[in-house]
Symmetry: C2
Subunit: 84 residues, 2 copies
Amino acid sequence: MFEARVDVKHLPGIADPQGATVERSLPALGYTNVSEVHIGKLIRLVLDASDEAAARAQVAEMCERLLANPVIEAYEIQISELAS
Amino acid sequence: MFEARVDVKHLPGIADPQGATVERSLPALGYTNVSEVHIGKLIRLVLDASDEAAARAQVAEMCERLLANPVIEAYEIQISELAS
C-alpha cells in the first residue's frame, strides 16, 4: 500500500481569488508584512499498487482526469510506501 | 524574507465531504484500489520577519485567526528562508 500526497496549485498567471481575498484581509488584522498568498488543495489518499512507479503513474492519471484541472492547475505528487 | 507553507487538514473525526465525494467517484472511473481520500488546503505565503521563530509564531497566529478553523482543522507549518 502506498500513500500519495498531491499538492494542487494554480498555474502561474491564473487568478487565485481565495488567496487574493486572504491577502487583502490580513492588513486589517494587523499583518502588513505578508505577500504572495496562494491557496491550493492538498489531497491525500491511500492506494494499492505493485510498486511506487505504478502508484505514481495511477495518481498522475487520476489528477488529469479528476483530482486537478490541468488547464488551470499544476499538481505535484509525492508517494511513500506504507508499512504493511 | 521567509516562505511559509501551511497544510490545513480536517481534524480526525470531522467530516470531509470533498474527499468523500472524490472517493465515491473513483470506482466509476475504474479506480477501485483507492481509499482514505482526504482533501485539505495548501496555503503558501511570503512574510518579512526577523528570524525563523518569529515567522513561525506569526504564521501560527494567522492560522488561529484567519487561515484555518481550529475547531475543525489542524494545521502544519513549514518555514523556509528565501535567498535575498
